[in-house]
């Protein structure tokens, strides 16, 4: 009965490399949520023109975070957790940093892939 109630694990998490956005799609100091490995991820273009890609799942209780243009930080509205643009937890209840992904710009596309060590 217990084994019946626990669903089988899905091992297919999708591709390790996805096109998260196109060049010019994001304004500086903004972010975009995109699906990655079956979960939401966040692509950020900072005010100084640098891309960052992070898991968008808050390490506190699993809400989906967003980029706050006012704070220049990643913010979780559920319990007011805050992260820097490279994923470090800086204030509020989040216990761990957000997982960071690598970003590669090729032609007109912005690719996000799992970092080699993740």
């Amino acid at each position: 009965m217990v084994r019946y109630l626990i669903p089988p694990q899905h091992t297919d998490l999708g591709p390790d490399l996805v096109v998260a956005a196109h060049v010019g799609e994001l304004k500086p100091n903004s972010g975009k949520i995109f699906p990655f490995a079956g979960r939401p991820a966040l692509l950020i273009l900072t005010a100084d023109g640098k891309y960052h890609a992070l898991s968008a799942v808050c390490t506190h209780l699993g809400c989906t975070v967003q980029y706050s243009a006012d704070l220049h930080e990643v913010w979780c509205p559920c319990h007011n957790g805050k992260y820097s643009v490279d994923g470090a937890n800086i204030s509020g209840p989040p216990p761990r940093p957000l997982q960071e992904f690598s970003v590669v710009v090729k032609g007109n596309d912005i690719y996000v892939q799992r970092a080699q060590n993740s």
Binding site: R39, L42, P77
Partner: protein
């Protein structure tokens, strides 16, 4: 012999009808300055009945799938005749039922109605309160909107903090690692089959225990009637108390009708699994004190992770609260003062944190 007498004989031969009527005629309810609190349990039961009826009506159109849930509730509210009313009564009714259940619990607590021999009545009542909260939590996801999606993400994620079995509980509740369509289907099953079955069982047990031990009289009133037995007053349950209870139900029904008509329950935006949580997101009022506490807790409290500590504290507090009757066994039957202090603290914490979350 008339038809009614024949029917009565028929019932009496099979079910002991006359015995039952004799019992009903002799059942009484004590009357004192706190008697109004006796209505709260009946009101909660009445609201449960309303939830069952409106829930069955909603089932005629509701579809528990990620592509159909939101649309089917939208269809109920915009196209089905009186659908908006049925859905609004169901949503408001859930909130009012939780309110009366919590008020019933605190009234039983402060009137010390859980004292010997009514410990099991309290325990069965606490199980019912947890079931009612389970109804609220599982039903909240069913419209499949943004608020319900994130409330479910946070609520189920809290179980992951429980040591040893936490992750198993999370996967069991979600039907997988994440909140998805599988969670919706699972919550639907829990909401319309598992919880109603359990609730029916425990309501039966609770009523049986209330019947067996009768209505409790608060210690202060008990002391007064011991000193002045001539002051003890009672009311016949049927029809006197029953008609008064019926009036209370009527008031509840009128209040629900007003709420549903003048402030129909909103549907919000359809859930998007890949959208960020909307700003200002918060759970229903009855979980607000937990939500606010978790906001206050930092990432680390001493050697503990803040969220783990929060979940453990709430778990321990709920267990201690449920077992309080077994600590309150004073010889004079008046109950221990520190237990009342715990109750005052619990009520102040619940109300204070809820108000803080809404007002600050």
């Amino acid at each position: 012999m008339g038809a009614s007498a024949n029917l009565r004989n028929w019932l009496d031969e099979r079910f002991g009808w006359d015995e039952l009527m004799k019992f009903v005629r002799h059942k009484t309810v004590p009357i004192h300055r706190f008697s109004y609190f006796y209505f709260l349990g009946g009101m909660t039961l009445f609201l449960f009945g309303i939830q069952v009826c409106t829930g069955i009506l909603l089932l005629m159109y509701y579809r528990p799938t990620p592509n159909g849930a939101f649309e089917s509730v939208q269809y109920i509210m915009t196209r089905v005749p009186f659908g908006w009313l049925i859905r609004s009564i169901h949503s408001w009714g859930a909130n009012v039922m939780i309110l009366t259940a919590i008020a019933h619990m605190f009234s039983v607590f402060f009137l010390k109605s859980y004292r010997k021999p009514r410990e099991l009545t309290w325990l069965s009542g606490m199980v019912l309160l947890f079931l009612v909260l389970g109804f609220g939590f599982s039903g909240y996801l069913l419209p499949w909107n943004m608020l319900s999606l994130f409330a479910t993400k946070v609520g189920t994620n809290m179980t992951d903090q429980v040591p040893l079995i936490g992750h198993w509980m999370l996967v069991f509740l979600r039907g997988g690692e994440d909140v998805t369509g599988a969670t919706l289907t699972r919550f639907f099953g829990i909401h319309v089959a598992i919880l109603p079955g359990l609730a029916t069982m425990f309501i039966g047990l609770h009523l049986l225990l209330v019947q067996r031990f009768g209505m409790s009289v608060p210690p202060s009133v008990e002391a007064e009637t011991k000193a002045h037995p001539e002051k003890a007053r009672e009311l016949r349950f049927f029809p006197n108390f029953f008609l008064r209870e019926l009036m209370a139900w009527y008031v509840v029904l009128a209040a629900l009708g007003c709420l549903a008509a003048f402030k129909p329950w909103e549907l919000g935006k359809k859930a998007d699994l890949f959208a960020s949580a909307p700003a200002g997101i918060r759970p229903e009022w009855y979980f607000m004190f937990m939500f606010q506490t978790l906001r206050f807790l930092p990432a680390k409290v001493g050697p503990f992770a803040g969220d783990l500590l929060g979940v453990l504290l709430f778990g321990v507090a709920a267990a201690v609260w449920t077992c309080l009757p077994f600590f309150d066994n004073s010889k004079d039957g008046r109950g221990k003062r520190w237990i009342t202090g715990v109750g005052v603290f619990a009520l102040a914490y619940f109300v204070g944190m809820t108000l803080y979350a809404y007002l600050v």
